[in-house]
Amino acid sequence: MELLKRIKDRAPEYDNQYYQMILDFTIEQGGKAGTSTEADRWKQGKYFSTRYEMYMYAALLGLKKDYKIPIPYGTEKSKFIEMRAWQPAEITDYVIMGILSKSGFDFNELENIEEEKVEKKITELRGLLEDYANGGFDMIRAKKESDPSYFLQNENCFIDLLEVR
């Protein structure tokens, strides 16, 4: 079984409350990926060219700080495209790596259970990713709230946010 492939088949979801926030910082693609130029993006004051980019950013933020917020059951969620399609693949893989390391799974054991059970585990992994990303989004939201001008005035806002340790 190709673990990585199976993982990447999944499309993580995010809490709808962040829908607007993601949109604020991401340039609208209008259905066609990668058609807007950097110039357009910059002009619009956006920082990410795809929504999953921001998702990866949030996930890494959460992972870095080990800050996860599980999405409560019953929350409305929205989906991205499958991780398989995420670019760049290295970063995507890195995120997955991070998730795996946080998961605490026993992979040796995992090797010996049936496929359906493995798939279930993969679903758990996806959930974990979502939780960390959720944490990351929360961190961004908190910053926005405490310092509304931060994302408006600061040209380097998301880069400076990486400093968060």
Binding site: E38, L63, E90, G98, F107, V118, E155, F158, L162, R165
Partner: protein, 729 residues
């Protein structure tokens, strides 16, 4: 004479009774544009000459044309019925004799039933007091009145003593022979010399005609003489018209030269503007490039989060943790593998050992089964009960045939193998971890690069602003813009072409004249050869003398004129130097350059070596003209003009800037015993006003500040306009 005071009653914007007192020295009336300064000038002029200056038409208009506009609107409105009188009174004091002259002019309109009936003319009343304390006597004889006015201000001096700012340009136009001659005439009577030229030329003509007639009369061949004479006449005509043509060309050339100079002044500015403009374009392009680069960096900044892996900043621990986990996984996996292998090996070893004891199927399984069933070993013929060692060993023999050596591949080790994927992730992480180390540096260096571009961008922007203001100030000085600069250069080239062509024409014309004159000479020689007998000596002598006379008359006039121009130049320089003393940046000497036609001149500023110093702008030219105007009066040999007559003007001092304003006032107060200057320069600029009031080099008379009763923007309603007069000293 000293002008002691002016009293205005309902005159234009001076509603009601207004008085200004004056003393010796420079009296200054300060007021902003439209406050009544030029109306005051009109008042002086109106009393003396029954005219006011129309700024729109740039000439003086008589009362009969001005009529009601002379009278204050406020006075007219406030009067319900009856006569409204507008009047101005000037009081002059003849200090030599201590006598007083009072000149008054009055103009009436009548109001009845809202209709206004205007008088056709004004009336003037002149009073004379033999001694200041005696009673005034009215002067009625017009001859006497004219004489008095001439004593106050002679006609020929008038244009140079009482003038409006707008007139300065035209009072003395160096390139118009008439105004220059007029000015020179004040210095010394050049007309006399002109008259002598007329006489000499006339005499020359007639003498030549006389000689010619004599020659024809005494001709040996009348026929030939006649025809030669005809030809001669024709030639004389031709030469005359060619010479007129020459004058025309030379005048054109002089105009072209002046235009060229003017354009050259502007051209130099224009060229400067072009050069500076080119520099500006350069800076602008630089700025554009830097701006683009800067934008690029900014745009791609966030992109770098992913392309340069900045988003992974601070996530080393993730990789570490994963590494540990992966290590554990692999280790355990190997352990499990090893265990399994060990087990397998043990089992296999057993089988191998079994197979080594006896060949397979020896003894045959039937026999072995038989022994097992009987529980007796037939080899050692002993009992082997079931489960005993012997019995088990026998069983082994049957079992072994069914046993096979197993390999690890035969075994199913696990359901899934994650190793590859996990390793892939590990290697990915490993590769990225190297990147992570250098992220901080990468970010910093990018920031540094951006900052540098920003700085450079700001610097270029500053430079651009600086150079743009430089261009603007050059343009303002030269009153050109970039397009005009381009046009100007074209025009200048065109003028140059024109000048070149004119010179060619002048030359070819001169050639033609020369040829004609040669021919004329030949004819005259021939004619004289034809003469039979003798021409009386006196006639020959007469012709010679008068020819010489004519020549001398012409060249002397030129010489005298030139000398007078020189005198004017020297005197003007005295004043100019005095006026520009305070200002270091502009020095130089005025030089009046003679133009090609030998009649007109052009002002220049040169250094001691005679090199043209400054490109003349409007300010310079006005200053030079003012200096010249003063020189005209002050250079008059043996005259006391500057003592006797008052300078009244609203000189355009703003044109030459505040540095020169004080210098101008100083000079004026030195050159003229009394002067009355209207100025706006001291209105807003209180610092300058302070200087005026406190500078000990300036012989100061009275200083007034005039302000209108209605502010500028409410001027549409003139019915309540009056003027406030405030004494400042």
């Amino acid at each position: 004479m000293i002008l002691q005071s002016i009293e205005l009653n309902n005159f234009m914007c001076y509603a009601g009774y207004n008085k200004f007192d004056f003393t010796e020295g420079i009296n200054v009336i300060i007021g902003d544009n439209g406050y009544g300064k030029s109306k005051l000038f009109d008042a002086f002029y109106w009393v003396m000459y029954d005219e006011c200056f129309d700024t729109a038409k740039k000439k003086f208009q008589k009362t009969s044309l001005l009529k009601r506009s002379i009278v204050s609107d406020k006075a007219i409105v406030e009067c319900d019925e009856g006569v409204i009188t507008s009047s101005v009174k000037l009081t002059f004091h003849n200090t030599d004799k201590d006598s007083i002259y009072i000149l008054e002019r009055r103009y009436n309109v009548r109001k009845s039933d809202d209709k206004i009936i205007e008088d056709q003319d004004s009336e003037e009343i002149i009073w004379f007091k033999e001694m200041a304390y005696l009673n005034a006597k009215e002067i009625k004889e017009s001859e006497q009145i004219e004489r008095i006015k001439k004593t106050i201000l002679p006609d020929n001096i008038k244009p140079y003593m009482w003038f409006q700012g707008e007139q300065v340009e035209s009072i003395i136009d160096f390139n118009r022979n008439d105004t220059l001659t007029q000015a020179i005439n004040i210095l010394s009577n050049i007309t006399r010399f002109d008259n002598i030229i007329t006489i000499a030329e006339g005499l020359n003509e007639t003498a030549k005609k006389e000689l010619g007639k004599r020659q024809r009369d005494q001709s040996g061949d009348k026929g030939k003489s006649e025809s030669l004479e005809l030809r001669k006449q024709y030639l004389l005509e031709r030469i005359k018209s060619l010479e007129l043509q020459e004058i025309q060309y030379k005048d054109n050339l002089a105009t072209a030269e002046e235009k060229s100079e003017m354009l050259l002044n502007k051209h130099a500015e224009a060229q400067k503007i072009r050069d500076v403009e080119a520099k500006r374009k350069n800076i602008e392009n630089n700025l554009k490039d830097i701006q683009e680069e800067y934008n690029e960096e900014q745009k791609s900044l966030h992109k770098r989060m992913f392309t340069n892996k900045w988003v992974l900043k601070g996530t080393e621990n993730l990789f570490e943790d994963y590494g540990k986990m992966y290590n554990q996984f692999e280790v355990k996996k190997m352990q499990i593998e090893a265990e399994r292998n060990a087990k397998l090996n043990t089992e296999n070893a057993l089988i191998t050992e079994l197979q080594a004891r006896l060949p397979i199927d020896v003894p045959e399984p039937i026999h072995v089964q038989h022994m097992l069933d009987n529980e007796r070993c037939l080899v050692c013929d002993r009992e082997a009960p079931a489960g005993s060692e012997a019995w088990l060993k026998m069983k082994e023999l049957i079992d072994r045939s069914m046993l096979k050596i197993r390999t690890p591949e035969d075994e199913e080790s696990s359901f899934h193998n994650f190793s590859m994927d996990l390793r892939k992730l590990y290697q990915n992480g490993l590769g990225l971890s190297h990147n992570i180390k250098s992220i901080d540096d990468d970010i910093n260096s990018t920031y540094r690069r951006i900052r540098k571009l920003d700085k450079s961008r700001k610097l270029q922007s500053e430079n651009l602003t600086k150079i743009e203001s430089e261009i603007n100030s050059i343009i303002v000085e030269a009153s050109l813009n970039v397009d005009q600069a381009r046009n100007l250069i074209n025009e200048y080239s065109a003028q140059n072409e024109l000048a070149k062509r004119t010179i060619t024409e002048v030359n070819s014309n001169a050639n033609l004249i020369g040829k004609r004159k040669e021919e004329l000479q030949k004819i005259e020689t021939e004619l004289s050869k034809l003469v039979v007998g003798e021409i009386p000596t006196y006639l020959i002598e007469k012709v010679k003398v008068l020819a010489e006379f004519s020549q001398i008359a012409e060249s002397t006039r030129k010489r005298v004129f030139r000398k007078l121009v020189q005198i004017l130049e020297e005197e003007a320089n005295k004043h100019y130097l005095e006026m520009t003393q305070g200002n270091m940046s502009s020095r130089g000497i005025i030089r009046l350059k003679e133009l090609s036609n030998g009649k007109n001149y052009m002002p220049e500023l040169v250094d001691e070596k005679g090199n043209v110093l400054l490109q003349l702008n409007t300010g310079n030219i006005i200053l030079i003209k003012l200096a010249t105007i003063m020189a005209i009066i002050s250079a008059r040999q043996g005259s006391r003009d500057t003592d006797l007559y008052t300078l009244i003007t609203d000189a355009p001092m703003s044109v030459f800037g505040e540095d020169y304003t004080i210098g101008f006032c100083k000079t004026v107060s030195k050159v003229y015993r009394q002067s009355i200057i209207m100025s706006k320069e001291f209105y807003k600029n209180t610092k300058l006003r302070e200087q005026l009031l406190t500078n000990t080099d300036i012989k100061l008379g009275k200083v007034y500040l005039i302000t209108p009763s209605i502010p500028q923007n409410e001027r549409s309603n003139r019915n309540s306009l009056s003027t406030n007069i405030e004494k400042l000293n």
